[in-house]
């Protein structure tokens, strides 16, 4: 369960002054469901998810993740979350197994539990073939599997994916999508951000459209279609964002 209440994030920029990256964002993600945060680049998706993962601290507002407040108990929140993004790289000089074990230990697993979890995950993701290989010698697909194993090692109830398919080829992206579905089917709370409409249509139970740091629309795909009398999600997105869009060349 994730409950965001009035999340705000402001940065100070020397040239541009105060930047409001996220403005008063509230939403709820339930276990066994996938919440999709849809938005263009720079809309505030990454900042929102980083706040939920307690990598950044909110300037205002708060959220509870798996029952823990992100401001009061950030370390407990992180222990309940698996966080995956294209920016979360692997340590090149560790082997696949060492990488997963490292994060297991940081999550407080004892050695016996760790061994069992690692064996389980490596078998399930079919990673035994490159267990001893260093991460910098792995293919992109293998690296993604190691990243997935890393987020799963402590069996967190909440999964946060920040544009997990960005820059990946079709086959690797499909692995990730399948993994997100699996997380949902196992009853985990899943939130993920993307700007790819088709991923949202395929995966999400609830969609939140974010733009300029504000959550402008929220609902299931069916609800959004009904509200805007439009079947195509891309059209809906443009209609929602359109009036707020400040970019040049579009109306």
């Amino acid at each position: 369960m994730i409950e965001a209440r009035g999340l705000c994030k402001r940065f100070q920029d020397k040239k541009r002054g105060e930047i409001r990256a996220v403005e008063n964002v509230s939403f709820t993600c339930r276990p066994g469901r996938v919440y999709g945060l849809l938005g263009a680049n720079g809309a505030g998706k990454t900042t929102t998810l980083r706040m939920l993962a307690t990598i950044l601290e909110p300037s205002d507002g708060t959220a509870t993740v798996a029952g823990y407040d992100i401001v009061a108990h950030p370390e407990k929140v992180r222990a309940s979350v698996g966080f995956l993004s294209t920016a979360t790289a692997l340590y090149p000089r560790l082997t696949a197994q060492e990488m997963v074990e490292y994060f297991g230990r940081l999550n407080g697993l004892d050695e016996a539990t760790l061994r069992r979890r690692v064996a389980e995950i490596f078998a399930r993701l079919e990673m035994d073939g490159f267990r001893e290989r260093r991460c910098d010698k792995l293919s992109t697909g293998m690296k993604q599997k190691v990243s997935i194993a890393r987020t799963l090692v402590h069996d967190p109830p909440v999964m946060i994916f920040d544009e997990p398919t960005l820059g990946l080829d079709v086959m690797t992206a499909r692995t990730i999508i399948a993994f997100i579905r699996e997380c949902r089917d196992r009853g985990k709370t899943v939130i993920f951000s993307t700007h790819v409409m088709s991923e949202v249509e395929k995966l999400c139970d609830t969609i939140g459209i974010i733009h300029d740091g504000k959550l402008l629309a929220e609902g299931t795909l069916a609800e959004l279609r009904a509200q805007h009398a439009e079947q195509d999600l891309e059209e809906i997105f443009v209609r929602v964002v359109g009036p707020h869009h400040t970019g040049a060349g579009e109306n």
């Binding site: 601290e57 370390e75 992180r78 790289a89 340590y91 560790l94 060492e98 940081l106």
Partner: protein
């Protein structure tokens, strides 16, 4: 505070560091090879060259002396010098190194000497040229002994004893034990090297563990794990400290082995045929070296924490390098200043970081223990080191630094 997670971070960083060729070179290979190559290699090369210069029989030109056959004859008879006949261009020949020196005997020299009239023999050499200096030195030595013979003859002619010219003798004798002499010669150097290598040893891992982590995109990965930022920075700090101390320890070890080898293999004597340059006193006392290390500990802590803080601020390796390179000068200047002759510890200097420890190392190496200064320096450096660790921890909690873009 339990350091369990810092220990997990440390272990992982150590595994990675030991697999990184660049870290291994800077912390293990360089300090181990630096001294043997520098001291034995360079020293042996120098003494071989000097020995060669000594062994060569230099050509010298005899100018004049036709009416002084006794002196000319004795000169020609010297087996350390090869006397060549005079030519008009003797100066050019010295410059072009065809001959090494020239000796000018004025007309009627022997007659003047016989009549007790003042006379002057001139030796021409090319200053700064070692082989020329050797030739001139040999000429001078020969001429002095010739002069002594003349004096003896004169005394004998007047029936005076030889010791009339030497009423008493002066002798210099050393009472310092060999390790103290060695300490005085090496004290400054050892302290300086330990401090410098503590820094160079810390530099590479500090960059790798902060800016390197940002560059490789693993910073967000590690920040998403439950480890607290304090434990994370401490784990990293201990690794940088380990590298720093390992570099310094290995270099002192290799320095010790190098000196031992120089003393035992007698590199200098072999090359120089028992020449006076043989460093008999290159001995370091183990206690002094340990004391130097103890004093270097807070310095290494200071370097490790300061370099972590600075390089964490950088976005990339390159940026970190451009911040840390100038720091080398900040460290080298006080360390070198301590080697200047005449600088000694004062209460004011004892609180200047780096300079204080290098000055103290000089004292420790000669076996002098000023306990007041030792306490003051250890405490003040520990204070600076503590402040640097605090700063590093604070820096790791700043989003604007971690996610600087």
């Amino acid at each position: 505070m339990s350091l369990r997670y810092a220990a997990i971070v440390y272990r992982k960083e150590l595994t990675e560091a030991l697999r990184d060729r660049r870290t291994l070179i800077s912390t293990i290979v360089v300090p181990l090879l630096l001294f043997p190559v520098l001291s034995v290699g360079f020293g042996a090369m120098a003494s071989v060259l000097i020995g060669k210069a000594r062994q060569e029989t230099p050509k010298v030109m005899l100018l004049g002396g036709a009416d002084s056959p006794r002196l000319a004859e004795k000169l020609r008879a010297l087996d350390q010098l090869l006397v060549v006949p005079a030519t008009a261009n003797w100066k050019e020949q010295i410059e072009s190194k065809e001959i090494r020196a020239a000796v000018e005997i004025p007309p009627g020299f022997e007659a003047q000497v016989a009549q007790n009239r003042p006379a002057q023999v001139t030796v021409y050499s090319y200053e700064g040229e070692i082989k020329s200096a050797f030739a001139a030195g040999r000429l001078e030595k020969f001429l002095k002994s010739y002069r002594d013979d003349v004096v003896k003859d004169r005394l004998a002619a007047k029936n005076l004893p030889e010791n009339i010219l030497q009423p008493f003798a002066v002798q210099l004798q050393n009472v310092a034990p060999p390790e103290k002499v060695g300490g005085a010669a090496l004290g400054g150097l050892v302290g300086y090297m330990v401090i410098l290598l503590c820094m160079t040893g810390a530099m590479y891992p500090a960059m790798d563990l902060t800016a390197g982590e940002k560059e490789r995109g693993t910073m967000e990965t590690i920040l998403s794990s439950p480890v607290s930022r304090t434990q994370l920075v401490l784990g990293k700090f201990f690794l940088v400290l380990t590298a720093s101390l390992a570099t310094a320890a290995l270099s002192v070890f290799s320095m010790g082995v190098s000196f031992w080898a120089m003393n035992h293999l007698r590199v200098f004597e072999m090359a120089g045929k028992g020449g006076d340059a043989a460093p008999q006193n290159l001995k370091l006392s183990l206690g002094a070296v340990l004391a130097v290390f103890l004093m270097a500990l807070p310095v290494a802590v200071l370097f490790a924490a300061a370099m972590l803080t600075i390089s964490l601020f950088a976005k990339s390796y390159k940026e970190a390098q451009s911040y840390l390179t100038p720091m080398t000068f900040v460290v080298i200047i006080p360390a070198v200043a301590s080697m200047l002759p005449g600088i000694e510890l004062t209460p004011k200097l004892a609180v200047i970081p780096i300079l204080n420890v290098s000055l103290l190392c000089k004292e420790l190496m000669v076996g002098t223990y000023h306990w007041n200064y030792i306490a003051l320096i250890f405490l003040s450096t520990s204070l600076y080191a503590g402040a640097a660790i605090f700063l590093a921890v604070k820096m790791f909690q700043r989003e604007s630094v971690l996610f600087r873009s």
